[in-house]
C-alpha cells in the first residue's frame, strides 16, 4: 500500500507554466484546494515482478539494452492513481477548466511520486541488488507496443484495474509502466534525461532552459 500525504507542488507549477512564473495568492489557494481534492480521490496502487535477463520479448531496441547493461535481473513495475482520478478530471473539465489543468498537473506529479515510493519499497525488498532508474515503453526507441506485454505479465487489469487501449494509452490515464534493472554491481542511477525523451524537440522547459524531474 502506498499513500501520498503531500504532492510536489513546485514540479506541478512547472507543468503549469514554468518555475520562473511568480505565484500569486489566488493561484496558491487554487493549488491548495486541488491538492486536497486529488489526495482524497487518488487510490494509488502498484504491482511489480522480478524477471530474469536476458528476456527477448522485453528487451527490444538499443536504448533499453544500454539502460539494463550489466543487470542480471529486472523489475517490471506498474502504478496507477485509479479510475476515480480520471473521472474527477473529466467532471472538472466540464465545470471549471482552470481547475482541471491544475488537477491534471498535480495528478501527473502524484503518479510519479507513487512510482518513486514503489521504487524504494522494491529496492528495500531486494537489498542484494542495485537498482537502475525506471525506463518506460515509449522512451527513446523502446517500443510502446510492449505496454500490452507489461500489463499481461503483471496481470495488471485484474489486479489493479490497469489496462491499455489499442493505441497503447494506459487507462486509467494517470498510470505508469516501467522496467528497472537489478545489478549486483553498483549502477548509475541517473535519471533518464532528455536524450531519450520523445518530447525533447517540443519541450517547453528546455525552451526555458529548464528540465523536468523525470
Amino acid at each position: 500500500m502506498i499513500t501520498l500525504d503531500r504532492l510536489n507542488r513546485s514540479e506541478a507549477a512547472r507543468y503549469l507554466g514554468g518555475a520562473k512564473v511568480e505565484m500569486n495568492d489566488a493561484m496558491r489557494a487554487l493549488i491548495d484546494e486541488c491538492e486536497a481534492q486529488l489526495l482524497d480521490t487518488a487510490r494509488p496502487k502498484y504491482l511489480y515482478r522480478v524477471v530474469d535477463l536476458p528476456d527477448e520479448t522485453l528487451i527490444v531496441g538499443e536504448d533499453i539494452k544500454r539502460h539494463l547493461s550489466g543487470c542480471a535481473k529486472a523489475v517490471l513495475l506498474c502504478a496507477t492513481l485509479g479510475a476515480e482520478v480520471d473521472r474527477l478530471l473529466r467532471v472538472t473539465q466540464v465545470r471549471d477548466m482552470a481547475r482541471a489543468v491544475v488537477l491534471d498537473s498535480l495528478a501527473s506529479v502524484a503518479v510519479e511520486q507513487v512510482c518513486n515510493k514503489a521504487d524504494e519499497l522494491i529496492a528495500a525488498q531486494n537489498p542484494e541488488y542495485h537498482m537502475t532508474f525506471r525506463f518506460s515503453p515509449g522512451y527513446g526507441d523502446y517500443p510502446i507496443e510492449l505496454q500490452k506485454e507489461f500489463l499481461r505479465r503483471l496481470d495488471a487489469p485484474r489486479k489493479i484495474g490497469l489496462s491499455a487501449n489499442e493505441s497503447y494509452l494506459l487507462i486509467p490515464s494517470k498510470s505508469v509502466t516501467a522496467i528497472a534493472g537489478l545489478s549486483t554491481s553498483p549502477v548509475d542511477v541517473k535519471k533518464r534525461g532528455c536524450a531519450t525523451c520523445n518530447l525533447r524537440k517540443t519541450c517547453r522547459y528546455r525552451k526555458n532552459g529548464e528540465h523536468c524531474d523525470i
Binding site: A83, E84, Q93, V101, L169, I171
Partner: protein
C-alpha cells in the same frame, strides 16, 4: 441433466475452483495465453475438470476465460479454435456424470468508454464471437467483471445470440466497489433487470471479507446469489493464499443466509477446497432471500431507492429553450453536460434526458448524450422520447437501470414500449392518456393507469417499476382539473401498488408568480403520494419543498439531509460586491462576475463591437502575451478566457435583444483524433477560441476521421483543429488530414483544399505537422488563436 433440472434437484449448486492456479502449479508451458493449452495439452486441462467433478462440482468452467479476439490476437489461434477445444475438454470431463460444462467469459482486457476507448458496440461484438463459438456449452458464465457496462454488453450478447442460462459475477475491492466504481447494489439491480439466472461475486477477496458485498446485493434482487471467492490474499513472495480449505468452507457457510445458492472457489483454490465446500453444504439448506429494498433506479455507481419523493431534473429538454436547441444543432455536448452537473448540484437525484429536435438525428444524439452524461455524472437517468427506436438506442447504451419516459394507454405505445422496458430491465413512466386523449375525470385516468400497470405486470415487469403520471393540466385554463389530477394520483398510489410521477410546472402556465403555484401544487401532490416530481431543481423553492416534505413526512430521519443542505442558510439578502472594476482588469485577473458587470455597464453607452474589438480582445491578448513570456500560469490564462466568455455572453444577450447580428467570427471544428483519449489540451484550445468569439464545434475525443469530414461538409466549416498526444495516434492525425484533403466537397473548383487545418499535441513538431499536410502547427492554445485570426480574422 439440464441447468433447470439441476436447479430443481439440488438445494445448492457447487461450482469448480481455480483453473489458473492448477495450470501454474502443473508448470505447463504456454505462450501468452493459458487458453492455448486447450489445444496443446487437452488431456491436462480435462484432468483438472475431472478433479473438480470428483470433488463434487456440479458445474465446471471451460478454460476459455480470456479467449477473446483481443487477448488471442498474438496467440496464433482463432477464438473459435480455442473455445471449441476448451468446451470439448470440459464436456469430455463431464461424460458419464451429471456435471455441466460452462462457457467461461472474462473481461476483454481493454477498458470501455468513457474511461477507456473501446465502444460499447465493439465490446458486444467481442462477446458475441465468443458466445457463438461456445454453442456446445450448457450455460454461459460471465465473471471477474469490474465494469458493469462491459458486463451489460456481455449479457446482451449472450441473450441475443443464445438461449443458455447466464451466471454473472463481478469482482470487488476492499472498498466495497469494483475498480471502475460499481456498487454491489447497482450490479444486483442492473443484472436482475437484464434477466440473468443468478448473480454474485467471484475473485475479489477471501470469503471472510465478502459479507458487506453479498448483504448489499441481496437487498436489491430476488435471484439466487453466487459466491466464488479467492482463497484469501496471496503472499507477495510465495504467491500462496492464506485461507485453507476448512476455513474457506466455514466462511462461505456464513454467507448462505443471504440467499447464496451457487458456491465455488476462485484464485488460489483447488479440488481440496471444493471437497470441503461439498461437505459443508450437505449440512445446510438453501434460504431464498427476497429483495428487501423498495424499487430503485441506478447508474453504475449510484442507486436511488424510491422510498420517498425523489427529484427528477427536467432541464435537459429542448422544448421552449432556444440555447438548448442551438446546442443540439451545433453538437455542443458540453452545454448539455453543464446542464446535467448544475441540476445535480441543485439537488436533482435523477435526470430526465430529452434531445428531440426536428433538425437532428434523435437516435444518434440520444446515444451520444447519454454516454457523455454518464461519463461525468452519477445520477440515474430517465430516457425521454416519443420514439420507440430512440428509447431502445438509449436503453442499450445506458449503464445501470434507467427509467423510460414514457408509455401511454394507446395500444400502439403499450405494444412497442413495454417489451423494451422488460428486455432491458428498466422502469417506465406511464402517461394516463390514450387514443381518446386525456380523460377529464380522475376515474378515467385511473382506468388507463390500471390498464398500463396490468399490461406491464403481464410482461413480467414489477408493478413498482411503473411510475404513473396522472398529467398536470394548466389551472388557468381549467381550474377544476387540478383536483382531478390529484384525485387520480391518490387512487393510483393507494390501489394499484405502483409508483407515481408528475411534471409539475405546467400547472401555473399563464399566471404570474409561477413558482408560488408550482411549489404549492408540488406539496399537495406529495401529500397524495407523488414519488417522482419532475421539476427544475435549480429553483430553490421547488427542491426546498421536497426536502421539507421529507422531513415533515418522517422520511428524512433526524432531518439529516435537510440540516446538511441548510446548515449555512441565511435569510439575509446577499451583499452586492462593491466597487466597479474595469473590463480589462476583470479579464486580466480572471474575475467572472466583475467582468460581466463591467460589460453590462459598458453596454449602456458603448457599441458592442467596440467593447469586443477594442477592450475584450486586447485584454485577452495581453494575458496571452504574459503567458508566452512566462509571467502567468496556464490556469490564469484559462480563468481570463472564461471571464471573457462571461462578457461575451452578456454582449450576445444584448445583441439578440436588440436584434443585431451575432458576434461569431466563424465556425471551427475541434477534435482529438481517433485512438486518442487525452483531450485536456484540445479543451484548453476550445476555451480560448470560444472566448475570442469563434464558434467551436467540438467533436470530442477518439474521433473518427469520417466524422470530422462529414461535419465540415454538413456545416460548411473550413477551419479544423486536430489534437494528438501520442506518437501512436499521430497516424490517425495524418489519416484525418488526408481524408479532409481528398473529400471533393471540401475542395475548391481547382482541386485545392478549402480547409485550413491546424494541429497540436505534445509530441508533434513543426516539421512533422508540415509533413502530414497541416497548414498550421500550434504549440499551445495561444498559437491556435493566432491561426484562427489568420484564417477567419
Amino acid at each position: 441433466m439440464t441447468f433447470e433440472s439441476l436447479l430443481q434437484k439440488k438445494e445448492f449448486i457447487l461450482l469448480d475452483g481455480a483453473m489458473g492456479t492448477l495450470i501454474q502449479k502443473s508448470g505447463a508451458k504456454y505462450d501468452h495465453c493459458p487458453e492455448t493449452l486447450n489445444i496443446t495439452q487437452p488431456d491436462l486441462i480435462t484432468s483438472f475438470h475431472k478433479a473438480y467433478i470428483e470433488a463434487g462440482a456440479d458445474i465446471v468452467y471451460a478454460n476459455t476465460f480470456g479467449a477473446n479476439a483481443y487477448k488471442l490476437s498474438d496467440s496464433g489461434y482463432s477464438v473459435e479454435e480455442i473455445i471449441s477445444a476448451g468446451v470439448a475438454n470440459a464436456r469430455k470431463a463431464c461424460e458419464g456424470t451429471n456435471a455441466l460444462a460452462a462457457l467461461d467469459i472474462g473481461p476483454i482486457g481493454m477498458l470501455l468508454e468513457p474511461a477507456g476507448s473501446l465502444r460499447f458496440e465493439e465490446a458486444y461484438e467481442y462477446f458475441k464471437q465468443q458466445i457463438l463459438a461456445g454453442s456446445d456449452a450448457d450455460l454461459i458464465v460471465l465473471e471477474t467483471m469490474t465494469d458493469l457496462y462491459e458486463l451489460k454488453a456481455a449479457v446482451l450478447a449472450a441473450k441475443e445470440n443464445s438461449d443458455k442460462p447466464i451466471l454473472a459475477t463481478m469482482t470487488f475491492e476492499r472498498s466495497g466497489r469494483t475498480f471502475t466504481g460499481v456498487s454491489p447494489a447497482a450490479a444486483a439491480l442492473t443484472l436482475s433487470g437484464l434477466g440473468v439466472n443468478a448473480l454474485g461475486v467471484n475473485c475479489s477477496l477471501g470469503p471472510d471479507e465478502l459479507e458487506p458485498v453479498i448483504s448489499e446485493m441481496t437487498r436489491y434482487t430476488d435471484l439466487p446469489l453466487i459466491v466464488k471467492a479467492n482463497a484469501g490474499l496471496p503472499d507477495p513472495n510465495s504467491n500462496e493464499y492464506d485461507i485453507l480449505p476448512d476455513r474457506f468452507a466455514s466462511c462461505v457457510r456464513a454467507l448462505l443466509p443471504y440467499g447464496v445458492k451457487f458456491v465455488g472457489g476462485c484464485c488460489g483454490t483447488n479440488p481440496d477446497y471444493i471437497i470441503e465446500l461439498c461437505k459443508m453444504l450437505k449440512e445446510e439448506h438453501y434460504q431464498p432471500c427476497p429483495k428487501s429494498a423498495d424499487t430503485a433506479v441506478c447508474s453504475a455507481a449510484t442507486v436511488v431507492e424510491v422510498d420517498c419523493p425523489r427529484i427528477v431534473g427536467e432541464r435537459i429538454n429542448p422544448t421552449g429553450k432556444k440555447l438548448f436547441k442551438q446546442a443540439l444543432v451545433d453538437n455542443n455536448i458540453d452545454y448539455i453536460l453543464t446542464q446535467a452537473l448544475s441540476q445535480v448540484s441543485g439537488g436533482a437525484e435523477i435526470l430526465d434526458v430529452n434531445v428531440g429536435h426536428p433538425e437532428i438525428d434523435e437516435k444518434q444524439m440520444m446515444t451520444r448524450v447519454l454516454k457523455a452524461i454518464q461519463s461525468v455524472c452519477d445520477a440515474p437517468l430517465q430516457i425521454d422520447s416519443t420514439k420507440p427506436e430512440v428509447l431502445e438506442a438509449g436503453l442499450r447504451c445506458y449503464n445501470g437501470k434507467p427509467i423510460v419516459n414514457s408509455v401511454n394507454g394507446e395500444e400502439k405505445s403499450l405494444s412497442s414500449v413495454l417489451p423494451l422496458v422488460k428486455k432491458y430491465g428498466a422502469s417506465v413512466v406511464g402517461l394516463t392518456l390514450d387514443e381518446g386523449g386525456i380523460p377529464k375525470t380522475a376515474d378515467g385516468r385511473f382506468a388507463i393507469a390500471e390498464k398500463i400497470v396490468d399490461r406491464a405486470v403481464s410482461l413480467g415487469i414489477d408493478r413498482r417499476d411503473v411510475y404513473i403520471d396522472c398529467l398536470t393540466l394548466t389551472v388557468s385554463a381549467e381550474q377544476d382539473a387540478c383536483r382531478e389530477t390529484l384525485g387520480a394520483l391518490h387512487r393510483v398510489k393507494t390501489e394499484l401498488g405502483c409508483k407515481t410521477c408528475l411534471g409539475v410546472s405546467n400547472i401555473s402556465f399563464g399566471l404570474p408568480n409561477r413558482e408560488l403555484l408550482n411549489s404549492t401544487f408540488l406539496t399537495m401532490a406529495m401529500e397524495e403520494g407523488l414519488d417522482l416530481p419532475i421539476i427544475n431543481p435549480n429553483l430553490e423553492v421547488m427542491t426546498g419543498a421536497v426536502r421539507a416534505y421529507r422531513v415533515l413526512s418522517g422520511h428524512d430521519k433526524n432531518s439529516r439531509d435537510y440540516i446538511e443542505c441548510y446548515n449555512d442558510f441565511s435569510s439575509a439578502p446577499k451583499a452586492q460586491p462593491q466597487g466597479a472594476m474595469s473590463l480589462e482588469d476583470a479579464v486580466y485577473s480572471g474575475l467572472k462576475n466583475e467582468g460581466a458587470q463591467a460589460a453590462q455597464k459598458l453596454l449602456e453607452n458603448t457599441d458592442p463591437m467596440v467593447i469586443v474589438n477594442e477592450m475584450l480582445i486586447p485584454a485577452l491578448d495581453r494575458v496571452g502575451e504574459d503567458f508566452e513570456k512566462n509571467k502567468i500560469f496556464l490556469p490564469q490564462l484559462i480563468q481570463s478566457a472564461n471571464t471573457a466568455q462571461e462578457c461575451f455572453d452578456v454582449i450576445k444577450k444584448h445583441l439578440s435583444k436588440s436584434g443585431e447580428s451575432s458576434v461569431s467570427k466563424g465556425k471551427i471544428i475541434l477534435a482529438t483524433v481517433k485512438g486518442d483519449i487525452h483531450d485536456i489540451g484540445k479543451n484548453i484550445v476550445k476555451v480560448l477560441l470560444d472566448n475570442y468569439g469563434y464558434t467551436v464545434v467540438d467533436l470530442g475525443k477518439d474521433v473518427d476521421p469520417q466524422l470530422v469530414v462529414d461535419t465540415a461538409v454538413r456545416q460548411n466549416i473550413t477551419m479544423i483543429g486536430l489534437s494528438a498526444l501520442m506518437t501512436t495516434t499521430l497516424k490517425s492525425m495524418e489519416e484525418t488530414i488526408r481524408l479532409i484533403r481528398q473529400t471533393p466537397e471540401l475542395q475548391n473548383p481547382d482541386g485545392s483544399s478549402r480547409c485550413k487545418v491546424f494541429v497540436g499535441g505534445a509530441v508533434l513538431t513543426y516539421d512533422y505537422a508540415m509533413k502530414i499536410g497541416a497548414d498550421y502547427y500550434c504549440r499551445d492554445a495561444k498559437e491556435s488563436v493566432d491561426a484562427a485570426k489568420d484564417v477567419l480574422g
